[in-house]
């Protein structure tokens, strides 16, 4: 299996390939994957004195399936989206590399190959981030720095682990972790967590994310925020569930608390930032950070229900955020702008895009009866039923963020698709089929998962049992917490769908003949007649009141501090480099001084 992926990797690099080739490659890989998932063979590649293992297990199957399915669809979208752009080869090479490296990460059985693919993912995504050539705020460099911090923290943890237990296998770490000393456990745990938190954009390490998401081409951002960030979740779940739970020390409890609260704070702050954004891409980028915050919190709480909800949300988030980014990409490609304050009323021009975006938005807001609600419900229940008081306060944080999420969800739909129609956007057409089909397919998947979440519970439950939970229970379409309280999705669907259909039918047939459509210029304007060019839509500073209300917490961004830190370092280095004066005598003097010093203290140094 891993061998197949590696083969694809190698094959990618040879030709400068077009989008179609990459789509074919990815989809064929997907087909290969979904057809031979049963095979649990282990491919080993041996390098000098250690061997790289690739294999599939119940847990990684979830992520592998997610990556494969979604990236196949997205690469189909990619064909139409990238058509007409230049340097396609460059883009698609990295695009495919990133996806394949994700597969590599998921398949890796040992830390070395994990790290190798992790870094490939990092630099290929970096090259895509700089593809558009936007360099506001040095975002590419920033992304690279943060990823490097994370990656190297992980590398350090890996080599230390190897020095402890002479093995790179993930399983061996899991088994050996309890035997380490406390300091060692703490160090390895923290280093790994830093490594994963960067990709999962947890609060203090999230600075790179918004711009990196919004500046890279949308067809990649769908992957970037949907899947690539999930790799951090992938690792984190292993750490939290398999490793820390076995730890002999109490302070893993502290980690989980800290990380859980960090996740909560991330969710709230990112949501607030998302609410006040003016650009659709930026809004979605912040919202991705917020959603990842939920997932991290769910993992950190670590009960059966919360972990299940976290993994469920991970998959669902990949779906709906993929749809939303693709929809925004479609709007960007068709209308040439993503500014929420200028666009409007595209619903009549791009109905399919609107439909899928609507479904995705409902799922994102966690409103029943779609899949998003299932994940959120499990998260809340797991927190409320948790024995740990701090989770009960955390649940308020999460609730705040998910209530505020309605705001930006509505802002997104309203800004792009609703509001007054204007001659400026009359030329806009519906996106071509290759872009629409993936969106609609994924939307339908969301609906299906809302009706029968069990389809997704099954693999997740298997994965969790692999990770070390006992008998994770799940029903096909009803949720239940440990207090035995249930929500029956089928009845919810029954009532919602019946009522909605009844209501819609009633409202449509009620004196149908005289009901008519009038343009959005025909509105109550106190008798005034709006000219064709004047736009009466209220879209600028849509949430100004809310902004004013939350203004106290928004004064300083984390970015601000990082920039100051960076500038400080730069100036320090500038001072240090003065040692190299570029003057021959100085250098000679250095030599002499060095010689003298060594001669003086040589006795002490060299026995």
């Amino acid at each position: 299996m891993g061998g197949a992926i590696l083969a694809y990797l190698a094959k990618r690099i040879t030709p400068m390939l077009s989008s179609i080739v990459s789509f074919l490659a990815i989809s064929s890989a997907a087909v290969v994957f979904f057809t031979m998932t049963s095979s649990t063979d282990v491919v080993t590649v041996s390098v000098r004195n250690f061997t790289l293992q690739f294999g599939l297990n119940a847990y990684s199957w979830v992520f592998a399936a997610m990556v494969m399915g979604i990236s196949a669809l997205v690469s189909l979208y990619n064909i139409a989206y990238m058509s007409g752009k230049d340097r396609l080869g460059y883009f698609n090479l990295n695009f495919t590399l990133a996806i394949m490296s994700m597969m590599g990460i998921v398949f890796a059985n040992d830390w070395i190959s994990f790290f190798i693919f992790w870094e490939i993912m990092t630099w290929s995504s970096f090259l895509i981030v700089v593809y558009n050539g936007i360099d506001e705020g040095k975002i590419g460099t920033k992304y690279m720095i943060f990823s490097a911090v994370g990656g190297y923290a992980m590398l350090m943890a890996i080599v230390i682990t190897n020095s402890q237990i002479d093995s790179f296998l993930i399983a061996d770490l899991i088994n050996a972790y309890p035997t380490f000393g406390h300091g060692m456990q703490a160090m390895i745990g923290i280093l790994f967590l830093i490594g994963f938190s960067v990709k999962a954009a947890v609060m203090p390490l999230h600075v790179w994310a918004p711009r990196a998401y919004s500046d890279s081409p949308m067809s990649f951002t769908a992957i970037f925020s949907g899947l690539l960030s999930k790799m951090g979740i992938f690792g984190m779940a292993i750490m939290f569930i398999s490793v820390f739970s076995k730890a002999s020390i109490g302070d893993t409890f502290i980690y989980s608390q800290v990380i859980a609260w960090l996740g909560g704070v991330t969710a709230v702050m990112a949501t607030f930032y998302a609410v006040i954004q003016k650009d659709a891409k930026r809004l979605l980028a912040y919202s991705s950070i917020a959603q990842l915050g939920y997932i991290v919190t769910g993992l950190a709480i670590g009960t059966k229900l919360s972990v299940m909800s976290a993994l469920f949300l991970a998959v669902i988030h990949a779906l709906y955020k993929g749809i939303l980014f693709m929809a925004v990409g479609a709007v960007e490609r068709q209308a040439g702008s993503t500014n929420l304050e200028q666009l409007g009323a595209l619903i009549r021009k791009m109905p399919w895009t609107f439909f899928s975006a609507l479904i995705a938005a409902i799922a994102l807001a966690g409103i029943p009866p779609l899949g998003g609600f299932v994940g959120k419900w499990m998260l809340y229940e797991s927190m409320i039923t948790s024995t740990n008081p701090s989770h009960l306060f955390l649940v308020i944080l999460i609730f705040l963020s998910s209530t505020a999420a309605f705001l930006y969800v509505y802002r997104l739909l309203f800004g792009l698709f609703l509001g007054q129609e204007e001659p400026e956007w009359d030329h806009v057409k519906e996106a071509p089929a290759p872009m629409v089909i993936p969106m609609v397919l994924m939307a339908l998947t969301l609906i299906l998962l809302g009706y029968a979440p069990g389809l997704l519970f099954e693999p997740i439950a298997n994965g969790m049992e692999f990770l070390g939970f006992e008998n994770v229970g799940w029903q096909m379409s009803s949720l239940s917490n440990i207090w035995g309280d249930t929500v029956d999705m089928q009845y919810v669907w029954g009532s919602v769908v019946t009522l909605f259909v009844l209501g819609a039918i009633f409202i449509t047939i009620k004196n149908r003949k005289s009901t008519r459509y009038v343009t959005t210029k025909d509105i109550h304007t106190s008798g005034e007649i709006p000219e064709a060019h004047e736009n009466l839509t209220y879209a600028v500073d849509f949430y100004k009141p809310f902004e004013r209300a939350i203004e106290p917490v928004m004064r300083k961004t984390m970015d601000f501090y990082y920039n100051h830190f960076g500038n400080g370092l730069e100036s320090l280095f500038g001072f240090v480099r003065k040692i190299y004066t570029g003057n021959g005598q100085t250098y000679a003097m250095y030599v002499v001084i060095f010689l003298v010093i060594l001669l003086l203290i040589g006795e002490q140094i060299f026995k």
Binding site: I347, F399, F406, Y410, L418, V487, S514, T515, L536
Partner: protein, 305 residues
Amino acid sequence: MEDILKLLGGAAATMLLAFVVGATYGGLVRKIIARTQNRVGPPWYQNFVDISKLYMKDTAVHHGVMQHIGPAFAITASVTVLMFVPVLREGGWFPWFENLNFKGDIIFLIYMMVFGSLGMALGIGQTGNPNASIGVSRGLSMMVGYEIPFVLSLVSVMVQTHTTSITGLMEWQTQNGWLMFEAPFAFITMLLAILGMFHYAPFDIAHAPSEIASGPPSEFGGKYLAMMMTSGSIFAFAKLVFLVDVFMNGASNLVMLVVKTLLLYMVPVLYGAVSPRYRTEQAIRYLWGWPVFFGIIALIYSIYI
């Protein structure tokens, strides 16, 4: 088939009840406000007249499909909430009022309650009326304001009673007494929260009458407005019943139900009848002030009791 029929019949009966009571409450509220302003006020059945008149209006214009089905969203949400809320306490069931009470729980209801407003907001958004959009922006912002104390109070109640289903809550109350007294801080928080929830003054900035022309529903007339008013009265009733179930152990018969709900309803109404209007950010700051404070006390109380 049999129970399907029972379900539908029960649903219809409950809807009818909810509509009647809700609309009557609406009329009473208008009457009460009129009294506080030293007027006579309309007859109690005024809302029925209005709604039926609106249903009878001939023409109806809409600005697109979302506005067309927006009211359908609203009525779906309110009736679904009604379906999942036990109208009468166990034992005192009218045989057909047991709708779907065991199929959902409080978290689900909290989310279901915002479903309608969001669907409405989508419909309103398509009208392109600036006043309507302003109303939506204010309304959603204020929703963030009052959801927090609302949720705080409910969470503390759930923690205290170790159940998240309403029927469970009611069983707990039949054994240990009303949560209104068992969880006093939670109740205070809830009272403060519903001030915001029912959108009466001082929290009526969302559809500020005569400031932004009748706010979000500006462009809705005829059957659309009628449907919104229907769902509004049903929704009000459903919310009241929900609160009564949570804090006053439901009601065993319709009379008690009416009394309790009316008592609870009077809080926002009377408070609103004599209040001026908050601006949005003031409202949010207010709702995140004392209510949240009490809510946190309630949470601590419920943890360490």
